[in-house]
Amino acid sequence: MKMGLSRKLLLPNFALIGILIFILFYLFFYLQDERQALLSTTATVKHQNGLLTEIQILRRLRLRAVLSYRLDPEESYLQTLHDLERAVTLKTQQLADSAQSPRQKTLLQRITESAKAIASSQDHLVKMIRDGDEEKVRLAFRRWSMHQRKGEAYFSDLTALTLKALDHNIALMDETRMTAFGVVGIGILVAAAMILLLWYVTQRQLVRPLLEMSATTKGIAKGDLSLRIRDRGRHDEIGNLAVNFNAMTESLAEARKALESSVAELSRSNGDLQQFAYISSHDLKEPLRMISIYSQILEKHSEELSEQARVALREVLGGARRMQTLIDDLLAYSRVSGSRENMHRVDLNQVLNTVKRDLKARLEESGARITAERLPIVEGHFTLLVQLLENLISNAIKFRGERDPVIKVSGREDSHRWILGIHDNGIGIKKEYWEKIFVIFQRLHTRNEYPGTGIGLSICKKIVERQNGQIWVESEPGKGTTFWISLPRTVAT
């Protein structure tokens, strides 16, 4: 049977609530019934007690009346006696009607019979008193007295029964109290057991696994991908979480392993490539220099050459210069690759000033104007950042339109980064080339239209990425181009 954690935690709660509701209702109805029973019995006992008291008083009055009549046979006593007898009979009947227990019913039946015997012996006594025979009066009085005494005994028994009923009520109340106490006590014990169970379940099912997961996660965060959450064979949410977590960690470990392998491979290949580029560029420069020197010697003796030879010589010299530029750019590109360390705080305002100074001649020659806002201080390489801005501003000058170049350098703060913008009013770039221009050796124009090697923007991209930033372009052909650069915001202006 599988049961989710939420159910496991809910189960004891519902059970607890159920038990408490049961106890509440049980006590309510139980006590209600008990109360009704007690009220009913108590009312009856009160009623009977009242009747008993009244009857006892009437009986004593009757006794006095009989004694008075015996001493003074006055007929008026007989009327009193008659009234008293009737009252006793009435009250006794009421008492008999209120009988509840079988014992009480039997007793009241005997009291009724006794009352009849008393009445009969009383009539006999009255008759004897009227006759005036003292011996017969004595015997009749004795008989009447014995019946009275017997009746008295029955009444005393009834009184005792009534008292016992009260005692029984008290015992019943005690029993009820003890039952209620017992029920509440058991309820508290069960509730306490349920609370302990809930605590145990929470600890075992939730808190402990989460603490273990937390510790494992912390270890993994520190880089130990060999850590795993212990498999407890659970099939609930926590079990699933542990399984998924372990699967995720497994994937991460595999991914890291693959990544490390790729990084090592890439690093090695990159190193080889850089080495190759550097060595190639450097080694190519020597024969190129030879070509260039000998071509220049030949140029000094160009009057001795035919026209066709002079043309060829000019082509050789142009090619050698282009080759020189290409090699220089490639060297610059390869140098960027090896410059990821030693980053410092760099004030971009200083960078821009340096660029302006370096490009002073070209700016004056082209009539270009540079405006700049207050630029931020960033984390990076001063030299590389100078190279970045130089490349972008040089491009703005190179790809100018018919108007004098106007270049604006802006800087603004984003949530996590600095955004630099280099805006120009040049010829612009069609949207389909916005990505392509950052690929090495990609050119949008012929060499005759705009000279260059097609490496400049690749170098810019590489510099920005080495500073943990991004570069992208927005442009409208004929109106101008904006290069946007984002750099991590680590230092405030």
Partner: protein, 341 residues
Amino acid sequence: MRRFLAASGITSFGVLLGIFAASQLAKNAPLRRDKLTFAYAKIPALALYFIAEDQGYFVEEGLELSAVPFATGREALAFAMAGNADLASVYQTPFLLEALSGKQVEAISALHTSSQGTGIVAMRSRGIRSPADLEGKRVAFVEGTNAEFFAVLFFQNLGIPLRKDRKVSSSLPYISTILQDGKADAISIWEPELSKLENSLGEDAIVFHSDVYIEMCLLAGQPVTLSQKRSALAKLLRGLHRAEAFLQNHLDTSLRIGGRALPHTPLETLRKTWETMHFAVGVDNLLFMTLEQEIDLLNRLKPANGKPLVASRLINASFLEESVPEAVTWLHNFGEVTDFK
């Protein structure tokens, strides 16, 4: 999960189960069996005993009862007082006579009450038509029984002296023939012998009762012996109390049980006799009053040698109070009401 469920079950209901099991164990614990020797008179007044025995109430209560039957309660009590039985059933007169003789005896409960269980049987052919005609006649009875007390009370209330030379002492097997033999003119006798005699005399029989007479069959014994048998007596009393309810609800079955216990008493006679009797275990004010009244009379007839008897000292309600408390209605101050004397 199973472990969790098991833990839940055990923990949640452990307490309840524990309490339930404890109560069940206590309920089903085997009863300790107590032994008791009971000497009894084979008379209709022992109805509750016959029923309880027949219905197995004593066994259910855990009582191993050895019952020894006698013809009269006087003999049963004598048997118990001699140390042969723990308890005896006896009417109040032999019980009081035993006490008057200076023996240590006490009653723990009444078994029945009746006003018409004893009477005087006479023959019309001897000229007896009313109680007044008994003046100067010879009256037979079994000495030391309730029948003797009844005769004394009956004549006293009539205002007729019962002279010594008019008293004829007899014993149970022969008393029924004493009238026909002419040795007595009237017999004071109890049920069912009274009805049997009345039936045998037919139209010639005349029976006199007294409305002021009360007779009670008691459970009595020696205080020392009784106190040693407290547990057994409680079981006996509970069994008798259960028989009381059975009798009220199953009169015909009870009569058949009584008929089996008293094979020489016709069922119709037994029914008639039982109708005049009230069966209940109890220690009540009527018992006290009856004993007190009879002590008063017996003291006048046979003055005690030692200390005068006190009725309240002859009753021990504690046994019944422990086993059937609702049957004890005796108020200890009842004797203080002496207005009628």
